[in-house]
Each structure stands twice: as structure tokens, then as C-alpha cells.
């Protein structure tokens, strides 16, 4: 038992565990819908849009800590823009995401370049790869509140969202407000991603959305079962990866993602039996 209790005796590891569990659970639930909607790439797109928002915040004079919160409205706008292009054109989700991804990342680089030479240097590496072990009590509170809110909203709308994702036309005929739900899903995904970037970084955040959801989808015969499996895989991967990274003395975010990937491989193998 020391293998588990020893690392968790530290306050920073406890905060990392709570943050990791919160982010992995909410990303898994949202991820099931996002993956089923054919928008697996959107996690990456919105994480990079978040970089654009942070850069605008830095240009306006805030520090990295506070610039992340300024990224929320920018990333939500990008998410709604992707939704608008999806609904008003015949473009596929990956194409719409790719366009907004490039736009916001280029905007981010532009605004970083526009900062005065006297401005404090930015640790781009911490933005890209995050630092779950450095989550402060304040950041943890925000992560928990945002994750819990997003989780409650998604679960309340689960049955309508599921119908809308299965067939927007059939759902609309049954009176489901398909467009409003899709925009809500995208906006909520944007907020969750910005918060998740604080813990796991821009590069790895989309893995929390895609991998547990994909593994759950492989094994789940119904959407409800696929969602429960995704949550279980996401949470177990976060907890196991955190503890394993402590003992192996390797980067935590990467260990969590590799654990999720191992779960995906096992799910794939089980589905072929």
C-alpha cells in the first residue's frame, strides 16, 4: 500500500490527483460526444486557440497565470466559430477545426511578437506541456468548480445531446433543439479545455478528450456504457499515471497519457477476441 499512500502523503500530489481526476472525468464524458460527432481533432484545435487567447492576454499586460482566464472568452468564440462553419457549410469537422486552429495559433505568435522587449519572458514550455504537480490550491478550486459545472450540465443534457449526435434531423423532428445543444457542447468543451491546459498543457489536453472516449467506444455496446467505460478509463489512467510517474521519476502528464494509450490498446485487443 506504501506504493500509493507514500506519494499521496504530499499536498502537491493530492492536489495533482484531484485535478487529474476532475479533468479526466469531465473530458471523458464530453469526449464521447465530441468523438461521436467526428470532432476528435477539436481538442487540439481549441487548445491551440487557447494559446492565441493567452498571447492576447500577455500582450495586454497580464501575467501567464491570469492570461489563461482571458483565454476563456477567446477560445469559446473560436469554438462557436467552428460550430457556425460546420452548420453553415458542407465542410467536415477536421477542416473547420484546422482553419481555426491555424488562425488562432498564428494570432498567438503574432501577439507574442508584438510584446515590448522589456516585457517578462514567457515560459512557453510550461504552456505547451503544463505542470499538474504545480497546481496551486486556487487553481485546483477553479478546476474543480469548472469540471463539476460542466459535468452536471452535460449529464443533465445527456439524453438530448445523444439524440442530436446520433441523427440531428431525427432529433429535430422529435423537438430536440439540435443547434443550441451543439453550440453549448462546443462552448463547454472550450471552457473545459482552457482549464485543463492549466494542468496538462496545450499539447496533451486533447488526449484526455479523445483516448478514454475512443477506448470506451470500442468496448461499449450502448452510448451509456461507452460513457461509463470512458470515465473509468480516464480516471484510472490519471490516478495510475500520477503515482507511476512519482515512482519512476518521469513527467506526470506524459505518463498519464501513455497509461490512457495502454488502456486503448487493451480495449482494442479485447474487442478483437
Amino acid at each position: 500500500m506504501d506504493l500509493i499512500t507514500e506519494p499521496l502523503s504530499f499536498a502537491f500530489m493530492q492536489r495533482a490527483l484531484y485535478a487529474g481526476l476532475a479533468v479526466s472525468v469531465v473530458c471523458a464524458v464530453i469526449g464521447v460526444f465530441v468523438v461521436q460527432r467526428g470532432l476528435a481533432f477539436i481538442g487540439d484545435g481549441l487548445a491551440h486557440a487557447c494559446f492565441g487567447g493567452i498571447a492576447i492576454g500577455l500582450y495586454l499586460g497580464t501575467d501567464v497565470e491570469n492570461a489563461v482566464w482571458m483565454a476563456i472568452p477567446f477560445t469559446v468564440l473560436i469554438a462557436l466559430g467552428i460550430g457556425f462553419v460546420l452548420r453553415s457549410s458542407h465542410l467536415r469537422g477536421d477542416v473547420a477545426t484546422g482553419v481555426f486552429f491555424s488562425f488562432s495559433f498564428a494570432l498567438g505568435i503574432l501577439f507574442l511578437g508584438l510584446r515590448s522587449a522589456a516585457a517578462r519572458p514567457v515560459n512557453v514550455e510550461s504552456l505547451l506541456f503544463g505542470s499538474i504537480l504545480a497546481v496551486s490550491p486556487e487553481v485546483l478550486n477553479v478546476v474543480l468548480i469548472v469540471s463539476a459545472t460542466a459535468l452536471v450540465v452535460t449529464l443533465l443534457l445527456w439524453s438530448r445531446l445523444a439524440y442530436a449526435i446520433f441523427d440531428p434531423e431525427l432529433a429535430a423532428v422529435s423537438g430536440v433543439p439540435v443547434a443550441a445543444l451543439e453550440y453549448l457542447l462546443l462552448g463547454q468543451t472550450a471552457v473545459v479545455i482552457v482549464v485543463a491546459v492549466k494542468t496538462v498543457g496545450i499539447v496533451l489536453v486533447s488526449s484526455f478528450i479523445v483516448i478514454p472516449a475512443a477506448a470506451g467506444r470500442i468496448l461499449g455496446t450502448t452510448l451509456a456504457r461507452a460513457t461509463m467505460l470512458a470515465v473509468a478509463i480516464g480516471a484510472a489512467g490519471a490516478a495510475f499515471g500520477l503515482v507511476a510517474s512519482y515512482h519512476l521519476d518521469v513527467p506526470t502528464g506524459a505518463t498519464i497519457i501513455l497509461t490512457h494509450c495502454a488502456c486503448f490498446a487493451v480495449a482494442l485487443a479485447l474487442s478483437r477476441r
Binding site: 439524453s159 439524440y163 446520433f166 441523427d167 429535430a172 452510448l223
Partner: protein
Amino acid sequence: MSDVPVGGGEPQAPTPAWATSLERREHAQKLKQTRPDPGAPRVLDVDHVSIERGGKLIVDDVSFFIPKGEFVCLCGPNGAGKSTLLKAVMGLLEPTRGKVRIGGEPPERARHKVGYVPQRKSYSMDFPARSVELITAAVRGRWPAHVKPEERERARAVLAKVGGEKLLDKPLAGLSGGETQRVFLARALVTEPALVILDEPTAGVDVSGRAELLRLMVEISRSDELAAILVTHNLGAVAHTAERIVYLEAGRLLGWGLPDELLGQSSLTALAFAGTDHARHRDEE
């Protein structure tokens, strides 16, 4: 196409109230009654409907109605405005002019009266769902996380009606084209609608399955006295089962009448045999 008669010139003889749809059709043919009896109770009423989208007129002043128990084929070439008109009938689109009424109510208030069988390509084919959940979703108006025993029994009964009882717990992704459309037909029937819309239901179904599926749809429509609209390009396969044909071209209603009468017209005949062996032999000659 201006030579296609729109019918309705003859005086309309009243149809006996007791007649089944098949008897009504024979009765109408005997009387050369091109259009349905205007006094019959109307399930669907499309009244001078025009629809513009992006500044383009897609549907241009279309009027027709479907009485209880009538099986109608809505046909026309690509871009005729069939899908746009269907969306207005289902309440997904507001007509620019005119009105649609289902049992006397606007479509958005009559959703429970409409059963819809979509084209096979329209939904997410890899969605993790079983037939029982799809059918229950139609009853609840939302996707079920858990199906109650009474909902399961209702789904089983309606699947049995379409000859698909064994499909109840099968994942949708593993069904053949014909099996999938049986499940969707059950889904459309489970709410006991007054009007069933069948949007190219035999697309993606093998040739032998098509005839069987079509026979089933017509049979149910007649036994349950349901009004049904079948949208199809393959007019040849349905021309002699539909009671009436509504023919659209370039957004305009160019024909509404009995199949035998309208199929005498050249463009409708071309549509009926498009893509068939008849058409290939004719083209080769």
C-alpha cells in the same frame, strides 16, 4: 413538362366513408377521379407553399393534400425541391409563403403525429446503439440511458409488426440495409402517427430486400389507414403501389394524380425507368 395534366377537372364524386384505401383507389380510378375527394378528412395539407433559401426559390407555390389512409409517392428529379418540402412538412423549415397543416395543426405542434423513416446515409452509422434504444428514443423524444421493461415490450411489439422481432437487441451498426430500414420503420410507427414520411427508404437496400420492404410499408399503411409519403427516385418500383403521385420539378408542382394517368407523360416515364435495365436497353438502341 407543361403538358402534364394537374388533374381535378372532373366533378369529384363523394367517396363512401367505409372504403379501405385500396377500395378508394379502385373507386377513384373507376370515376377517373384524379385527385382525392376534397371533402375527405385531410391528414396533410400543403397550401400554396413557397420556400426561399439564400435568395433562391426552392419550392414555388405548391399545393396538395393527403387524406387519411392514402399512400402517395412524392417524386421528381434531383433539385426538384422534394427534400426542402419534406423539411417544411416536418416542421424543420418555415415556409416563406403558404402553410403546412398536419391534422389541422402546424407541424411544430404536430410532431407526435408524424413518423419519419430517414435515408440510411443520414445518421451516424457507427453510433453505439441497439434497435430497442432507437425505438424508445422516438417515444421519449430523447436518447435513453436505460430502457424500462414496458418500453422494451412496446419496442418488441412494433418490431414484430414489421417482421423484425429478432432485431430488438442487435447493434444498429451490424444490421443489413433491409434490417436497418425495418428498425427505422418500427421507430416511425411506435408513436402511432397519422402520417408516415418515407425518405428514399430503399436506398442502400439490396434488390430483393427493396420489393419486400416496399410491400411491407404499403401493407402497414393500408392496414393501419395511415397516410404515407414515399419520396423516391425509383418511381418504376412504386408507381403501381402508390395511390397517387405528386410530381415536382424545379420547385413546381407539375403533376398530382393517379399513377396510370401521370405515367403516360414522357418525363415521368423517363423518371420511372431511370437506372433500370429498360433505360439501358433503350439507351443502347
